[in-house]
Each structure stands twice: as structure tokens, then as C-alpha cells.
Symmetry: D2
Subunit: 255 residues, 4 copies
């Protein structure tokens, strides 16, 4: 049992078969996100007690189990932005997401990425993003002050789905036609929309991850990257519950 | 006169109207790259002599002009990978390039970027990448050992151009249809291909820039990003000629 | 006239002869800090209006002068932690400070440093830190909750000064004895206390600099590094007054 | 058995009681370095096969065991400076070393550090660096072209040891006198020489670690930090033997 089986994003299908970290990319917990994406926790080290011990390196003291005082210290560190102890906890994920989501993700520079490259690789089939009906939305207001309103209308949903479908099909067909004609992959990929799914490995320390969550699991983030951030937040909470509690209790601010 | 008027990429149109650095994004040297892209040097500080003085900070000695000994020191620093003195020279560019080029560019993490965002902005028209006829190519060999061969064939050129054109038109039309129907910009952009041009500001120090040039102005880089890297290399050579000479004389390796 | 002649740290001697940025380390504004230290602004690029233009890169719009709306935008960026536009403004300083101050300074990793090295360089004389009488203090309370109380006592001041003086003299004399005996500089320096002054060049962008100021020009910082941070804050305020105003108005938090 | 019991630095005492990685700072392999220092591997994730799998993320293929082809790929990655796959392997160490060594160490910015702070902590006793007799040396030549010659002379050894001893004693006694007089720790520490031992936790990925080894386990590095780098190189070789072989075969260059 690991405590994150119930995600509050109702419409997202979630399969949690195994909550333990796994050392290898072929195995492990895979959680579905969007219509064809996923998040998998590949590996990690460190937990709340390691953060406490890192912070107490000054005192040549350490402990093996969390206690109330240790929880208080973690809250103190987050509140006062003593950030370096959180850098000694590291996570490694395998992500499958649309390119438009990946482009925001790769802006997080204190991170390591290895991504599938369409310069070298021709997938047997391409996956593309389609929003659920309750993700079709209008943007209201100006930059910095906008909100989104859900459009509850089957006709609009069909219109958007058809619009995406038409472009995706045209792109897919042009892509494989060029590949089959022997054109270089790096030229042929030019037609592929940012709605195409890509895949990458992401290694990141907990401090940088809190910054990611602060920005991406937030109402100002695009809904689609936010769904990934929510899954990631739940996955790591199993390992650093006190840190995540302190993060929540201190306005979810980056440190 | 600034010495970089003659680029050796014959087919790329180049306009150099002004070689001096400018403090503002609305002005300054703009050099065209690809069919609709450009590079503009917005600002900078530091030059070869500042690198020499940074390296000599130990000795509380400095000089105002380069001389032969100073050139020798720069070569020594590059050769022996004493890299930090090159971090005190900084450049700021305005770049317009296709998204597939930008995606490679943004992998360079020791850099600062601000990019046009299609979450907020609807351009009046969209620009898309089309290769010149001599850029149509086959990829031969396997990853790590491939080469490219130019396809000298008007029919193939027309085929590629038509393939791109069809997808671009479908995408552009679906995009504006969704925008006009009031769909959120961040959803509508999903159909846009990675051949679309984007724009960004890039601030980078000379050490990180040498790393970029080492990887991107290289025969293993994709031809399209390489054309940008070539232009950038020529633009900065006006300010750090001794550094670029030493870089060239030491296998163009990152330091 | 540059507006920062009046520092509120009364006991620190300050000489501002020239407020303009200078491109070279041999010249420029030098401000004295502590008993033998200094800060000099060597170079910079960018100002408030460049931050505004970086943030507006989405809209292909720019302006050459700040106005009320632009000031409002800077406040919005700081308040909402839209940090990247501040990375395109860069400063370069020459710092002379005690090693114990430098050790805290070099923890700021998004920075470039070139420091005087005692592996290579034997100064003609060594400079050491002595506190002013009003800097002699007791530490009261435990880590995370301590405060400092000034000790208003000439006898204590003399005791501290004598204690430092004795060690400094022993170290200086042992150092030069070993140097004169031909011992390697890198061995001889081992005796030198962290109260010795060192010198370095520091290049840093404004985002990283705000992080530095948030932590070091703060009541939790050691008084000695804080005095440097205060001088730096005043030096840069001349170039980015609206940014510093917004920083002040938003709890001086890192972004 | 773990293969690094035999260190070639003859004079360094080494105790290897346990070669397995340990998740906690209170346990684990501790290897002595210098007269009072040590290196302990606290935690890690990833090994050669993970690097191979990271590099092959493009191909959605993975393997669980190394084979000849996988070794060849690692060599190819190092040789061609495809560096990102090495960022997904991470190590965490506990280090005790002199401050003059730590100051060089902390220049490596792509790293996470938590150090004992003498602002908060008063050790019961202080440890100081003394060189072995065969580490007493002369520096011959100028910066960039110097070498070191061992001084085989008991009188010189005694002279150096006495010089260090005198200063260390004066510093220790002044330090505790000020502490006992109630002076703030952050003031009292000012007298402590850079030969004093400090302690810190260091988390670093393998790419950054290869850069560290390239510079610090090198004949141009100071002998004392090199001894630490040698121990670290041996500790990690147990986990990434193919990577270290490829590093050795490609001029030990940073990637």
C-alpha cells in the first residue's frame, strides 16, 4: 500500500500496480496521464530523514527515523528557505508527454534529460494528444490576469477533435511518405505537430523538483502539464511526506 | 567594417547593415538565416583583454590592450581547459528559428532564454521552415556513424516542399479556425508543426557559448541549427578574435 | 550624481568618486567595506527597460523608456516569480573580502568567479580582518532562533583585537618563513586564517543577484557579508531602480 | 570483495570494511585520507547499464546486463562527448578535508553541498592538516609551467611541522578563549587557519564527477585534493567500471 492510489483528477485513468521504486526503466510503477501519456518513477535516493541529517551535518549528529522534532526542522527549513539539504534527495522518472508539454518541462535547467530523438528514430506509429471533453476551454482575460472557462458543448468538442485529427493525419501521412521516399528523418519530422507525444528520462533533485511543482502544479500552469505535475507530486510524497506537508503549509513556494 | 561580411554558407542571404553592438532589441545587426529566420546581437560585455585580466586576477596586474603574450595566455587557457576566465564575457542575442531548432538550442542549460509564447500570443501570420533545394538530404548509416547525402533532384525538392506546404496549410487553417471559435490559445497551438518559427532572447557567457559552438557548429549537428551557430560564431569573433583563434587551434573543444 | 552616496551603515568609510560603469578592472567606482575590503562595479549590461522588453518578447513589442505601465509589469513579474526576464541583466564586480566571507559568497553557484590564488601568488603583504568596536557581538539563542547582541565594552574590544592580532602575526610570520625557506606556496598558505582578505571577480545575472541579496542582505546573514551585500544593492539600484523597488515591496524574496 | 582495496598511494592508511553502498551517513565505507580526513560513500543510484539505457531512450529498447556492445557504446559516448546519459547516475559522499581543499572542491558548481558551519557549531576539539614528510615540496617554475620537487630532509620536515604547529596552537587557543568569553562563534572562527578540517555532504552526478576527476585527479591539481580525488575515483569504479575505463582510454577529459 502506498497511499496515492486515489488521484483527485477524476477523469485521468490511473493504474498503480506497484508502489516501490524500481531500478530499471523496463519495470516499475507507470501511471497514465492524458490520452496517451505516462509517468514512471525509475529510481531515487534519500527521504525525509536524509534531509534532516543533511541539515544537521554541522553537529555530527544523525538519526535513522523521523520524529516530531525532525518534522519541525523540515518545516523550519522550508519556511526559511534553507534549501540545500533538499538537494541530496534525487529522483529519476520516465515521462511520455506531448511536445508542447515537454517544451515547458525542459525549461527547468537544474535537471537532466535524455529524450527520444526523431533525428535517429522512426516510431512504428505516432501518438498524438487529444483533450477530454472537459478540457476544452476558452481563455478569458489578458496575460497575467486570464482565467479559463470550460466549454460544455459536444459540438465544440467534436469541432476541436476533428480539427486536431485532420492535421495529425495530414502530418503523419506526410511524415511517413517522406521517410519512405528516403528523406532524412531530421527533415521529415519538420511536419510533426507539437501535439505529438515524445518520451524522456528526467533526473532531478528534490529542491529543483519543488520549484517545478511550485510552478507546474499551480493554477497558472497549463492544465496538461499540471496533470503530470500532480502525478509526480503524489509519487514523491510516498518518500518525502514531511517535506511535502511543509511545502503545502508554506504556500507551495520554491526554495 | 567588422570582418564578418563574407559568410561561407553561399546560399544564405546575409544583410549586415551595422556591426556595432546595440543595447536594444529593436535595433542592431540582424542576419538572416534559413528561409525566414534571423540572428541579432543585442548586447554584450567583455572582450579578449578582459579574459586575460580575469585569468591574471591572482597577480593584481592588468592591461588595456592585447599583445602577443596575452594571445599566448588565451591559447594556454583554452588548451589546458582553464575555463572560468571565459565566463566573464557575456552576449545577448535575439533569435528567430524553427521550433525543431529551438528545441535543440534550449538543451543548453547554462543559458537564459525568454521565448515568444503561443499560450498568450496569436501572431497575425505564421512563418514556417522550408529547406533550400541543396538542403534536401538522405541520412545514410546508423546513429553515431551516419552521414548525409544531398539529393540533387528537382522532383524530390518539389515533393518535400509540397509535403511541408500541405501540412503547414492544414495546421495554419485549423489553428486560426480554433482561435476564431474562441478555443484557448494553448489548445489551438497543439496542431502547429515543429517547422513553425519561434522567437527568443538568449543571454549566454562565452564559456557556455564555446560549448554550444563545439556541438552545434559541427558536422554532427543538424544542418539547420549549424547555420545559426555559424552566424553566431562570426558575430562574436569580432569581439573575441584571439579566443576564437585559440578555439579553432585546439580542436574546437568545449572547455 | 548617482543617489547612493549616503549609506546607512554609518561606521563604514565610503568613497564614491564615480558612479558610471567602467569596462575595466583598473578603473571604476570602488567602495570600501570593513577594515580593508572593497567592492568595485567593473561592468554591466541591461536595465529595467530591458527586463520589460524581455518579458514582452511574446508580443514583438518593445519600448526605449520606462513608464508607469512598465513599472507595474516589473512589480507583477517579481510578485508572481516570473524570473527569467531578470536573467538578461548582468553585472561584473571586483571584490576584496575576508576568506570567511568569500566562502559564503562562493556557495552561490549560478555565478562566475575568478579568485586570487595563493597557490601561485605571494602578496607583498597580507591584509586581515579586524571588526570595528560596534561589530563585537555575542550570539544568543540556538541555531535558527539566535540573535546577536552588541558588546559595548572597550576591554572586550581590546581582548578580541589582541586575540586576532596575535594569531595573524604568528600566521604571517610562519607563512613568510616557509616561503623564504623555499616551501611550496600551496603548503605555506596552510597557516593563513580565514580572516585573511582575498580578491575575486564576480559575474552574475540579476536573478541570481536578487537571490544573493535576499539571503545576504538579511538579518540572518553574518553582519560582515551583509555589509558587502548592502553596498552591492546600492550599486545596482542605480541601474535597475524599479526592480529594486519591486523587490523591496515583495518581501525581498528570491525569484 | 569490491576491487579497490589496494590503493596505489602507499603512505595513505586505508580501511575498507564494507564495500556496499549504504543509505545512511552513520554507516558505510569510510576511507582515511591525509592525516585526519576521510571519504565515505553514503548513497548512489545508477550504474553502467543505466547509462546505456539512457542513451538508448530514443529506441525504446533497454537491457539489464552489460555486454560487449554496451561497453562499446559507453566508449563511444565518452569519446564523442555525448554527456547527458552520464547525468542520470548520482553519488552522495561524506567528506572530511582541510578548508584549503574544500575551497577548491566548492568551485564545482554542478554539485550539492552541506557543510559543517562554525557559525553554529563549536567542535570539542579542532583537527588540523599536517603533511607527511614526503609531501613537503618546493614549487619550481612559473604558473602554468611549474612542477614540484619533494624535499627529502628531516630538518625541513621538522621546520614545516613546527611552523604549522605553532600557528595552529595559537589559533586554537585564541578561538576557545574568545568562545569562552562569550564572543559570537562567527567572530571567533576568524582566527582559524585554512589548514583546519571541515566536513560536508556532497551529492553529484557522474558527468559532473568526471569533470571533477579530470581536474582534481590530475598532475596539475594540488597533491592534497588529488588524494581525495583518487579515493573517490576508486570508490565509484566499483559501480561504473566501463565508464571509468572509457574515461581512462579517452585522455580523462571532461565531457
Amino acid at each position: 500500500m502506498c497511499g496515492f492510489e486515489k488521484f483527485f483528477l477524476k477523469k485521468i485513468p490511473i493504474t498503480v500496480t506497484d508502489c516501490v521504486s524500481i531500478t530499471f526503466m523496463g519495470h516499475g510503477t507507470e501511471i497514465e496521464v492524458l490520452n496517451a501519456g505516462s509517468v514512471k518513477l525509475l529510481d531515487r535516493f534519500g527521504s525525509d530523514v536524509d534531509i534532516v541529517n543533511s541539515a544537521r551535518v554541522s553537529f555530527a549528529s544523525y538519526q535513522t527515523e523521523m520524529d516530531e522534532k525532525a518534522s519541525g526542522l523540515i518545516n523550519f527549513l522550508i519556511k526559511n528557505k534553507h534549501a540545500t539539504p533538499f538537494e541530496h534527495v534525487t529522483f529519476k522518472f520516465y515521462i511520455k508527454c506531448p511536445i508542447f508539454v515537454a517544451r515547458e518541462w525542459f525549461r527547468h535547467r537544474w535537471s537532466s534529460f535524455n529524450e527520444m530523438s526523431m533525428r535517429y528514430y522512426v516510431p512504428e506509429k505516432l501518438d498524438f494528444f487529444f483533450p477530454d471533453i472537459d478540457a476544452i476551454r476558452k481563455q478569458v482575460g489578458k496575460p497575467g490576469h486570464y482565467t479559463f472557462e470550460q466549454i460544455e458543448d459536444t459540438a465544440v468538442y467534436d469541432f476541436v477533435t476533428d480539427s486536431l485529427e485532420q492535421v495529425y493525419q495530414a502530418a503523419e501521412s506526410a511524415y511517413y511518405d517522406m521517410i519512405n521516399a528516403g528523406i532524412a528523418k531530421e527533415i521529415a519530422r519538420t511536419v510533426l505537430p507539437v501535439g505529438q507525444y515524445t518520451e524522456f528520462i528526467w533526473t532531478v533533485n528534490l529542491r529543483s523538483l519543488l520549484n517545478f511543482l511550485s510552478l507546474r502544479n499551480d493554477e497558472n500552469a497549463q492544465k496538461e502539464i499540471r496533470q503530470y505535475a500532480e502525478v509526480i507530486e503524489r509519487l514523491i510524497t510516498a518518500y518525502v511526506p514531511e517535506t511535502m506537508l511543509a511545502f503545502e503549509n508554506n504556500n507551495r513556494e520554491a526554495i
